[in-house]
């Protein structure tokens, strides 16, 4: 087990290294750097001015060296200004003494760089945004997992029954509805003052305010209420739910055909007891893996939902960083995304081994 985890972590690190390099490579291609130079410096720079700006700001070195600098395994660049004699460098903050600045300053030293769009240290930006997204994800998981498991177990306990067919078709329908479709439909149905349910409810005086829910989650960043946070959570939970429910159904249906369930039935155990006591535990091993692997999927959904509902979390930051080519912010965002993906994979592997007695004991 220990060796297995070590090996997995090794592969994980290698994957993370490759992925960050790919992101670094794509964000640091010359056209991107040229755009950066023009937005940071002057929009009407000539080609020569662009390349001298890039040289002066440490973008002149070869790609691998700069990746090393960013990673913190190659010393940060320093440059002495020929006219003023001032020493500038990657690791030297403005106004600091160059002699005291550390040699290495990269990801490994905890220095994530400076975001050009937010005009702030990346670490300050990312932390707060992650917290917001964490809240969103937390609520989504709280809603999604129990609902999906209940639907899956109900559908799988009597395979082929009418309840099974109804619930399976419903789960197919939710997997066929991407967030940007269900979000739009929910807003129109529940959060529009001119269409859907809200005008009717207001007319009858059944709700206070003009709409049943709020179509924007901007106010949820300070204060989460049922009114402003239901729609984003519902939108996100719905898409992931169908898949988990189908996996739970498949696993439940398989368990229900097992020998020991038949034995229990023949002994005359009540169906309810069989489902709750005998089948449920074994049926929940496979969904656990699926739930963990679903979290990276939620990441894509988070980007869409946060854009749709104007919730300035991690996904929104990703869009901002990517569309403005904010290189260092984008790098940190992708690191977080990659870590989430790989960590959930690792947890699902370990969890599967741990939960499944057949593998655990042998």
């Amino acid at each position: 087990m220990g060796l297995f985890i070590l090996k997995r972590i090794g592969v994980m690190l290698l994957t993370a290294l490759c992925l960050t390099f790919v992101v670094f490579f794509l964000t640091n291609l010359y056209p991107n750097l040229e755009k950066l130079a023009k937005t940071q410096g002057n929009a009407r720079m000539t080609d020569a001015e662009v390349s001298s700006w890039l040289d002066n700001n440490g973008y002149g070195a070869p790609m691998l060296v700069r990746y090393g600098e960013w990673l913190g395994v190659v010393p940060g660049w320093t440059r002495t200004d020929e006219e003023t004699g001032e020493i500038r460098g990657r690791c030297i903050d403005f106004g600091d003494d160059p002699a005291e600045a550390p040699r290495f300053c990269g990801m490994l030293q905890g220095d994530l760089g400076y975001s050009t769009v937010s005009d702030d240290e990346v670490s300050n930006v990312v932390g707060g945004r992650l917290l917001l997204t964490g809240k969103l994800m937390g609520w989504v998981l709280i809603v999604m997992i129990p609902a999906a498991l209940v639907v899956g177990v109900l559908a799988g306990m009597r395979e082929g029954s009418r309840l099974d067919r109804t619930l399976s078709t419903a789960s197919i329908a939710t997997t066929a509805t991407p967030e940007y479709v269900s979000g739009v439909i929910f807003i129109v149905l529940l959060a529009s003052s001119t269409a859907g349910l809200s005008p009717w409810l207001t007319e009858n005086g059944w709700i206070e305010g003009r709409t049943l829910f709020l179509g924007s989650a901007r106010s949820a960043m300070e204060d989460i209420t049922f009114w402003n946070f239901t729609l984003p959570v519902m939108t996100l939970a719905l898409y992931g739910m169908g898949y988990i429910a189908r996996m739970t159904r498949a696993s439940m249906a398989e368990v229900m055909t097992a020998q020991y369930i038949r034995t229990a039935r023949l002994k005359g155990v009540k169906f309810r007891t069989i489902v709750l006591k005998h089948a449920l535990r074994n049926a929940l091993i496979a969904p656990f893996t699926v739930i963990m692997l679903q979290i990276p999927w939620l990441l894509t959904g988070v980007v869409i939902v946060e854009t749709l509902f104007n919730y300035n979390g991690f996904g929104w930051t990703l869009v901002q960083a990517a569309s403005n080519n904010d290189i260092e912010l984008l790098m940190s965002v992708s690191i977080v995304a990659v870590i989430v993906v790989l960590a959930t994979q690792l947890i699902s592997d370990i969890g599967y081994v741990y939960l499944n007695p057949r593998i655990r004991i042998s």
């Binding site: 197919i172 940007y180 869409i304």
Partner: protein, 474 residues
């Protein structure tokens, strides 16, 4: 002039009926649910002593019957609206539903033909024919064919051009009449106008064409790549497998949106990376077919040479045109932004296909017929492509349907973020994105493309489900 009503002249007659049908359906649904939880089982068939069968109906059965007939009533009402729309002369009488039904006339005719032919000959049509035994599969097939045919007949179905702007029609509600229509022009915007004054209905119809131009082809390419790499990885195993699996996992670990944002920006396009990716990815179909024919006709060099020559000639021609945009004859080309969207969608999809194919091959290669083939001295590629692949077709076809749906969702995501497609493009993702800004005030521009995308993906999912069920049956 007042806008057209939704249901036209038939409305006063049929609306109460439809409402009643919906009410009965909802009541029946909850009644059945409650009865189920209360433990009332559906009635069972009993064999009487005189060899007749009788069913003791329980309240549960009546609830189900009520649901069934209310659905049929609802569908019948919709059909009457459509027929009414085709038969009645003026737009006010047709109503919006009727008028749309009339515009879709070519689709209905083609659909009826397809269904009639398929149901008649379903026993001779293999897996496709079996689809018509499963109601879910049929509904899925109907939805998919509806959008396919709409894409084919888009020019006949649409009432206006996809980018025709009439500024007075900005944000007008569904059924609004045009201010001063030209001779022969359609009189109204059936589903209203968007924020620039374009016809929402026509944009939805042309959007189907945009989506179906890319999604199936991209999925097919992803399958070619996945199969060409997945077969040897699963069959040979070893270092090749390790390396390929690592790369596949690498791509899969990438958040899709980040990858799109990195690949589909003008700066990256300027650097030429998408073209190189296209150059690599588009090679796979040619490699696939060359190996396919080479392994099959290895013992007949003349036939083999003809096939390979033709593949390389036609494939190379398409390859030059599509990937490098340098077709010597100047016929085949792909607009730059579509190429990028295409390439990134293929790139994102192929690792998953690779994993599926590899998994299936690992399973099938232990079978006896593979061992028999090896004993006969068949080459590894012959075994992979002509023994293993045909036997893996079931799960692959099912996954193909699902994956077209997923690709449609991905394309919508790209459009939603305004990536890759041109701003006027009528594809569903971009239309939803444009409509969402004024969503709470004018919901009508965003809703039709959203529902269109949903029904199409749902159709593909149901189709896949029906195919899976029917292919498991034998």
């Amino acid at each position: 002039m007042d806008p057209i009503t939704w249901t036209g002249s038939l409305g006063p007659l049929l609306n109460p009926l439809m409402l009643a049908a919906i009410a009965v359906f909802v009541l029946g649904f909850f009644a059945q649910l409650l009865l189920n939880f209360a433990g009332v089982q559906p009635g069972e068939v009993q064999i009487n002593p005189d060899h007749t069968l009788s069913v003791a109906r329980s309240p549960n059965d009546y609830a189900l019957m009520a649901m069934k007939y209310s659905v049929l009533l609802f569908l019948a009402c919709v059909a009457v609206f459509i027929v009414g729309g085709i038969v009645q002369p003026s737009l006010e009488q047709k109503g919006i539903i009727g008028a749309m039904g009339q515009r879709f006339l070519p689709v209905w005719i083609a659909m009826i033909l397809i269904f009639a032919v398929s149901v008649t000959f379903k026993r001779r049509l293999g897996l496709y024919g079996k689809l018509f035994d499963s109601p879910i599969g049929m509904v899925g097939f109907f939805l998919v064919m509806f959008w396919m045919l709409t894409a084919i007949f888009a020019g006949l179905v649409a009432t206006h051009g996809a980018i025709d702007v009439v500024s007075q029609m900005r944000n007008e509600v569904p059924g609004s009449f045009m201010p001063d229509p030209d001779e022969g022009e359609y009189l109204a915007y059936l589903l209203g106008g968007d924020n620039l004054g374009r016809d929402v209905f026509s944009r939805m119809v042309f959007g189907a064409r945009e989506v179906l131009k890319i999604a199936p082809a991209a999925t097919l390419f992803a399958f070619m790549v996945g199969i060409t790499l997945g077969l040897p990885a699963g069959y040979f195993g070893g270092k090749l497998d390790t390396v390929l699996t690592f790369i596949a996992n690498l791509v899969l670990a990438f958040p899709v949106i980040l990858l799109f944002y990195l690949l589909v920006t003008p700066e990256i396009v300027a650097s030429g990376i998408p073209t190189y990716m296209a150059a690599v990815l588009f090679l796979f179909p040619i490699i696939f077919f060359v190996i396919l024919f080479n392994s099959r006709f290895f013992t007949q060099p003349f036939t083999r040479n003809i096939y390979i020559f033709l593949t390389v000639l036609i494939g190379g021609w398409l390859y030059l045109g599509l990937a490098w945009n340098s077709d010597p004859l100047g016929i085949i080309s792909m607009p730059g932004n579509i190429l990028i969207v295409f390439v990134s969608v293929v790139f994102v999809n192929s690792p998953t296909v690779f994993r599926i194919v590899r998994g299936i091959v690992l399973d099938i290669k232990t079978r006896d017929y593979v061992a028999a083939g090896q004993t006969r001295g068949e080459g590894p590629w012959y075994i992979m492509l002509w023994e293993i692949l045909p036997n893996a077709r079931g799960p692959l076809i099912v996954d193909f349907c699902l994956r077209i749906g997923y690709t449609t969702i991905l394309l919508g995501t790209l459009g939603f973020f305004g990536l890759g497609v041109s701003p006027e493009s009528p594809d569903w993702g971009s239309t939803i994105n444009e409509g969402r800004r004024l969503l709470t005030i004018y919901p009508h521009p965003a809703l039709p493309p959203a529902i269109a995308l949903m029904t199409m993906v749902l159709g593909l999912n149901l189709l896949a489900d029906g195919l899976r069920e029917e292919s498991l049956r034998d």
